[in-house]
Structures are given as structure tokens and as C-alpha cells.
Amino acid sequence: MTMVRGKQIISTKQLFAILFLGLMNHGYVSISRWITEVAHQDAWISTFLGGFIAFVLLNIILLLMKRFPDKTFIQISDEVLGKYLGKIPGIIFLIFLLFFTALSLYLLVSLVSAWLLPKTPIDVIIISILLLQIYLTREGIKVLGRFQEMIMVIVLLGMPITFLPYFIYQNHTLLMPIGGTGVVTILKGALPAFYTFFTFFSLLILYPYVRKDASHKEIVKASNMSILVVTILKTFYVFGSIAVFGEKEIQFFLYPLLEYVKLLVFPVIERVEFMMIFLWLFMMFSGTVTTFYMANLTAEQVINVEGYKNTGLIIAIPIYFLTRLSQNIAESLSLFRLEGAVLSIVLLATIAFVFGLSFILQKGGENA
């Protein structure tokens, strides 16, 4: 029977879920280690600052997207730069997304490999996740939105458990002296923290799909709410981990959040961290599938084949090889920093260039 397909629209609640899970996913289990390495006991301040930078940039992006309510960044650059030159920003964005997805995927796969399937070849795990991502992307943005909403409910149900170790084992002296590392160190730490918020760039693609059903104000509200909630949560996790372990001990852990949850012991459920890994698998998959979908949609729009169902299959190939680039988690961490530094500069410059030109050429907004 022919399917009666609704429009490809996502609601503001779905936007919140997509951003929330995407922002949470990146560095969720390791963020304490990444930031304390640079900012020591003040890592939580750096995390908050990183979130704040992302918050500011997100609002700038929203302001810019307001001028083109029915277009994605790729379509905007097509309009501003022309048919051929307009593809370049799209390709840069695509490369960024491919790297970013591969890195997120590697973090997920390495966690599964280390904790659940140590003897299984890593390729099998990568391929199994990629196949699920391809399946989801085939069905369009509407299904992505619904899926993320479902997962958010599951994640939120398990989240209160992660607050418990702090309330039981906290030792605030481990956080002292607050600000003792100095402003420069804190600001240095804010950079890797900011990199963990990269998913906010997906608004460059998502905006027109939400705008069909909601006002700009509602989108701003949902996006800001998601980034604020995630900033608070991530800051809490870093704060809590330092308060429980201390910044030096955290450096010994590959996944500090797991060690932090491991402190809990319930009757019958002795290994709480495994239960949490099971829940986090859903969250981490959702985070990676968002960037995978963005890469898929960007590729489709760059080559003008939007709606083609098998683009995910093509996108999965480079992502697979990029995922295999990292040999271990330490390497992936260096890659993460490199990618964060290079791509964020290039991408931000590209976005600034495209929107700057649109202002100069008086495209978009009232003139659109």
C-alpha cells in the first residue's frame, strides 16, 4: 500500500531532544578527564565557560538563520555564492560532520569494546551501529525527531542515578582553591569544553525543518533551553567527579563518569555502571546518529539529491574509514583536539563569510 507520508517537519520538542542528546553525547563519559587535564580543579568553571561560548555562538547562528527561514546553510551558501562556488562551504561543513561523526562513533565503539565486548573485532561493532544509522536516515528527519524524543525519555529516567555519588561521597576540599589555577588556565580549559558542544552547529541544517511548524521565538527558546540544561549537567558531572575523586585521580580513569557511578552499590544490582552503560548506549547512539544524519542531509543538498534514500550508505563508507583512523582512545583524544581546533576555526570562518556576504549582497531577510 502506498504510504501517506506527512511533511518532513520536526517540532520544537524534537529539536530540544536532538540538541540535548547530541550535546550530551560528545564527551559525556570522559569530559572530566579531558578538561581536568588542562584546567585541573577548576575544570568545572572551564566546562561552564565552554557551554557559555557555545550558547553565544548558537544565538548568533539563530539570528543569522532567521534571515533565511526556509533554507539550510547549504542552500543559503548556494543562494549567496552561486551554483558552483556555493558548494564549497557545504563541502567544508560535510568534512566537519564526517570527522565529527567518526569521532563520536569511535568514542561509542571504544566504550562498548572496553566494557561489553572485549573480544569482538571493533569493525563488527562499527558496522552494526552504522547499519542502524543508515536505516534511520533512510526514513527522513521526521523519524529522527521521533526517535530522539523516545530516547530522551529513556535517558532522563536513568539520569537521577548519576547524581547520587556526588551527594554520598563529595569532598569539597578537592575543589579548592576555586579559581586557583588562574584565569588563563581556566580559559584554556574552556576550549576543549567548547568542542564537546559542537552539535549546536546542526541548527544550520535543522532550522528550516523546525521553522515550518514553529516561530523563531519558539526555536530560540528550545535551543537555548537545551544548551543551558546540558551546560549545567556537564558542569555538574565535572564538578561532581572532582569533588568525589580529585583532579589527580581522575587522570587515571579512561571513563571518569563510569568510575563515578561505579561507587554506587544497590542490593542485587552490584554493578550499577553496567546498567548505566546500557542506558548510555541509547544516548550515545542518538548523539552520533544526529551528526550522521546531518552529514547525510548535507551531502544530499550539496549534490542536489535531497530525498534519495541511499545516501546514508555512501556516507557510511568514509565514516567507517575515519573511525578506523584512531587506534586507541588516547589517539582519538588528540584527534578530537586537532579536529576541534582546525575545523572549528575553518567552519566558523566559513559561516561568517557566507552570512557576511549575504548582508553585503542584501540577500535573505526582507529582501528574500
Partner: protein, 533 residues
């Protein structure tokens, strides 16, 4: 080859619909003539070798002696109506009632309007329609020298009494269920919703069976585009026979390859009535007690009419139990397989020893052991369903006690696994909708396979795949997970929870209807109309 192609092409464009029994009776093209004998002869050719078709010829004393015939299908006509109302009124006519000479058509009209004492009479000229009406149990009356016939409603046949449906029993609530007769079923619904806005449209399905398929909906609540969509999809059914609602389901479902049903079925009139008031459409097929309701959402399959008859707190509790049973049914066995095969360190110290002890001597890996037990369970289940009640119960006991216990003693399975398989089997039957338990059983095998291969990770990826699949599903363009994804606070009141009825001020948001207000009444409310008038 070219000849064959031409033959196929010709057959493709041949208007086969409407041809009856190789005669030239085509829908809309063959009419009765003034030749009474010729009309009877044509019908006799059509019904050649149909000994249950009765041609009762007789004379009526009107302005002159006129030949007439009654044609009906024996067994499908109510004999009381035929004898006491039709025959008696026709044969009781005397010449003094017809003092003036009349034309044949005037005679027929007078009989229709004055003499024949039957509730529903239609005049018809098309031969194809007449044939179909005979087969549907109507009485056809033809008069000499007249090119029109009368269709007298005399339907009546042996039907099953209205009983409580076996598959949807309730402790509290109406004990009536649908039967195999379309009219009885529509009446059962009408009795629940006494509103002129309850509309009923009938279409025919099956080229040979000409089965009546009724569409019922409440105008003003049900969205117009949904009604159009249902009608459009029903017209695509190109089968020779429709015997059960399952025949049409596969044609009208959005995704027939999914293990999850996208059409809700029920044998309970109260359930249909409740759904009609929520803007849904009921599709009733003649000859089956199973009524289909569209569009369907997953949450509906976990609801029972009893949820609304019992106190709200218990209604909600039962729904949460059903939700948990859905998870248990799909995951319990696979979780055991994953824990024993991959993550033994997650089993608490005291339990791990007893699990290890029970597995001593079992030669199979846990995966095979679990699959073996599940297959045995499926065999017992299938056997007990197909057998008569008492034997079915015996098989159940044999399966549960003898095979279960023997398998443990023979060291083919561990006792803990037997318990877990039993729990997951019971969980799958907590769900009120029987077809959904098929989906769960199907999913369970997938889950066990994944758990035996990838442990807990396998369970997670199958669940993720399952959730993605559920998110892709739609029923008549409406999201299958409506209420949860897309998430709507207002729909939660009657999905996972069952809030008090006085708090259900609005209807569910799926399907997308105009008249959302359940309590104040709006369009089509007769009291409001009276008030305004």
C-alpha cells in the same frame, strides 16, 4: 511470444468486472425488458445449476389476471416475511381493488405503494443489481409486461447468537460481542452511539464474493481526509474473495511487512464505539465478527475497555504493568542469555552460584538452550490454540509440567531458564490484543539471537532497531507512537496513564480532528443546535 503479449494485454483491458456466469449481464448495461418470459429465462440461465434459487411463479387478480414471479435464495430469506407479508399481501389482492385498467408500470407502483407490506422496497431495472440482490438475500418481484422489478427486503438467515468474545473477555463491562452478520454488528454500534452523525457507508469487496464492507465514523469528529483515504484504499482491493477483515488489512496497511499490526481489531462493540468517539473509523466486513479500527497507535494495543470501567488508579496501574510486560516479554530470556554467556560478573554473588549449579550437566550453550525452550513453548502454544478447549488445556499441562520438568531432569535445560521462559510467555499474554503477542514472540527470537551473539550490546542494538522501526511506522498517515513520539502532554492522559474521565476534556490528537473537545460539545451536538434554534 507477441501473440501471448497481445492476449495478456487484451485480458488486462477486458472489463471482466460485471460479467456474470459467462452471460452478457454487465453492470449498468443489461436491463430488464417488457418480455416477462425472456426476463425469467435470462435469470434462469444465470442461476443454472443453483438449486437453492427459487422461482415462484403465480397469478395476481388485478384489473386483469397478471403473471408474476418471486425470486429468492432459499436459506437467506426470512420465511415469515416471505409467507405472511409478501405472499399473503400479493395473493390477497382481488379484482375489485383494481376497478380501472392500469399500465404495467402503474400496477407495479401500486403494489409497491399500497399492497405489499414490507418495510423496505426498491425499484430496479438493472439485471446485474438484481442478481446481486438475490445473492444477498433479497426477494425479487417481477410482473408481466413490466421492465422494472421490485427488490423486497426479506433478508433473514440463521445467525450465531450474540455472546461475549472469547479473546477479549472482561470482568466488568458489557458481555456482548460482534457476530458474523453485518447488520447485527452495525446495530450493536448504533445502540451505543445514538447520534445521527454516526455515518455508515457500504462498499463491495471481492470480485466473486461481493462482500459488503461497511465504514462507520462520526461526522464532525472524524477528519474528512481520513474518510477519503480509507475509501480510496478500500477501492484498491482487487481480490476475488474477501472472507475476513484480515483480507483487507494487508491491502490498507501502510507497512504490511512490519511485524507490528497497524490496524486495530476487536470483537467488542464498546471498544469500537469508544474509538469512533475519538475520531477513528471502523471497518466492518460481512461474515466476520472481527471489526477493524483505523488509524491505530501502539498504545491502543495495550488498552482494554475495562481500563475505563475500573477506578482510575487501577486503570493506570494495569497499563503500567502491561508496558512492563511488553519489555519483559521481549527481553527476559535474552537478558538471561546475555548474562550467562557474556556478563557473568554482573550476576550477584549468591545468584551466580545457583545459576552455575543448575547449568551443570547441560550440554548446550545458553543460546541453544534458550532457543530450544522457546521453540518447545511455541509448539505447545500453537497446539493448545488449535485444539478444543479441554484437550487444549491438557496439552498446556503436558507442556508446562511434563516437558518442562522432563527437560530439566534430562539436563536439556536449566530450571532457571524454564522459569524465565515461562515469565516471558505469560508476559506476552498480558497484552489485551492477541495479534500483538505475535509481534512480541517474533521480536523475542531476534533478541535472543542478538544476546547470544553480542551480549547486552546485542540487546541494546535490537532495541534501538526496534525503536527506529516503531518511529518509522504510520497508520493511515498518523504516527504509530503518537503521544510519546511525537510527544504530546495532552495525549499522556490516555496512553501510559488513565486519568479520571472528568479530566479527559479533550480527545487524543491522533487523528488530527477539528472537534477536539470531548465535554463541551461543538459542531453537530444536537443539544447545542436546539439551544441556538
Amino acid at each position: 511470444m507477441f501473440k501471448n503479449f497481445l492476449k495478456r494485454a487484451k485480458a488486462r483491458f477486458q472489463p471482466d468486472k460485471g460479467l456474470i456466469a459467462d452471460t452478457y449481464v454487465v453492470e449498468g448495461e443489461s436491463s430488464l425488458t417488457h418480455d416477462f418470459r425472456d426476463n425469467i429465462c435470462r435469470l434462469q440461465i444465470i442461476f443454472k445449476d443453483c438449486s437453492d434459487i427459487v422461482f415462484r411463479e403465480f397469478e395476481i387478480q388485478m384489473d386483469k389476471q397478471v403473471s408474476a414471479v418471486l425470486i429468492y435464495l432459499d436459506g437467506m430469506v426470512d420465511r415469515v416475511t416471505l409467507h405472511n407479508h409478501v405472499m399473503r399481501s400479493l395473493m390477497g389482492i382481488s379484482k375489485k381493488d383494481y376497478p380501472q385498467e392500469l399500465s404495467p408500470l402503474h400496477r407495479l407502483n401500486r403494489l409497491k405503494n399500497i399492497d405489499i407490506m414490507v418495510g423496505e422496497i426498491k425499484e430496479e431495472q438493472d439485471m446485474y443489481t438484481l442478481v446481486n440482490n438475490i445473492l444477498s438475500g433479497e426477494i425479487i418481484f417481477m410482473l408481466d409486461d413490466c421492465d422494472h422489478a421490485l427488490i423486497l427486503n426479506g433478508r433473514g438467515w440463521q445467525a450465531r447468537a450474540i455472546n461475549e468474545p472469547d479473546t477479549e473477555t472482561v470482568v466488568r463491562g458489557p458481555k456482548e460481542g460482534f457476530v458474523e452478520t453485518l447488520r447485527s454488528n452495525t446495530t450493536l454500534i448504533r445502540r451505543k452511539i445514538k447520534d445521527p452523525n454516526l455515518k455508515l457507508k457500504v462498499v463491495q469487496g471481492g470480485k466473486k464474493t461481493n462482500t459488503d464492507i461497511a465504514i462507520m465514523y462520526v461526522q464532525g469528529i472524524c477528519p474528512e481526509d481520513l474518510i477519503e483515504e480509507v475509501e480510496k484504499r478500500l477501492k484498491t482491493i482487487n481480490l476475488d474473495g474477501v472472507f475476513e477483515s484480515g483480507y483487507i488489512e494487508e491491502f490498507i496497511e501502510d507497512n504490511p511487512y512490519s511485524p507490528f499490526p497497524q490496524v486495530q481489531i476487536t470483537e467488542r462493540p464498546d471498544k469500537v464505539a469508544g474509538n469512533l468517539l475519538e475520531g477513528k473509523i471502523a471497518i466492518i466486513v460481512d461474515g466476520t465478527p472481527v471489526v477493524s479500527i483505523v488509524p491505530a497507535t501502539l498504545a491502543q494495543f495495550y488498552q482494554s475497555p475495562e481500563d475505563y470501567y475500573e477506578r482510575t488508579i487501577f486503570g493506570t496501574a494495569v497499563r503500567i504493568i502491561r508496558l512492563l510486560s511488553f519489555i519483559t516479554s521481549v527481553t527476559a530470556t535474552s537478558l538471561y542469555v546475555a548474562l550467562v554467556s557474556f556478563h557473568q560478573h554482573l550476576i550477584p554473588g549468591e545468584i551466580v552460584l545457583s545459576v552455575a549449579e543448575t547449568r551443570v550437566g547441560v550440554p548446550f550453550p545458553t543460546l541453544l538452550e534458550a532457543v530450544f525452550m522457546e521453540i518447545v513453548l511455541e509448539l505447545v502454544r500453537e497446539a493448545s490454540i488449535r485444539l478444543p478447549g479441554s484437550i487444549g488445556q491438557t496439552i498446556g499441562i503436558v507442556g508446562a509440567l511434563v516437558i518442562g520438568q522432563s527437560a530439566v531432569e534430562a539436563k536439556l535445560a536449566s530450571p532457571i531458564l524454564v522459569i524465565i521462559v515461562a515469565i516471558s510467555a505469560i508476559s506476552s499474554y498480558v497484552i489485551p490484543h492477541f495479534s500483538t503477542s505475535y509481534s512480541l514472540r517474533f521480536m523475542r527470537f531476534m533478541m535472543i539471537g542478538a544476546a547470544g551473539t553480542f551480549g547486552a550490546y546485542g540487546i541494546a542494538i535490537v532495541w534501538i532497531g526496534l525503536l527506529i522501526h516503531l518511529c518509522t511506522l504510520e497508520s493511515f498517515g498518523q504516527p504509530y507512537l503518537a503521544g510519546v513520539a511525537p510527544f504530546r502532554w495532552t495525549d499522556l492522559k490516555d496512553t501510559i496513564f488513565r486519568v479520571p474521565l472528568w479530566m479527559m476534556g479533550t480527545r487524543p490528537t491522533v487523528p488530527d480532528m477539528k472537534d477536539i473537545d470531548r465535554m463541551l460539545g461543538a459542531k453537530g451536538d444536537r443539544e447545542d443546535d436546539n439551544g441556538e434554534g
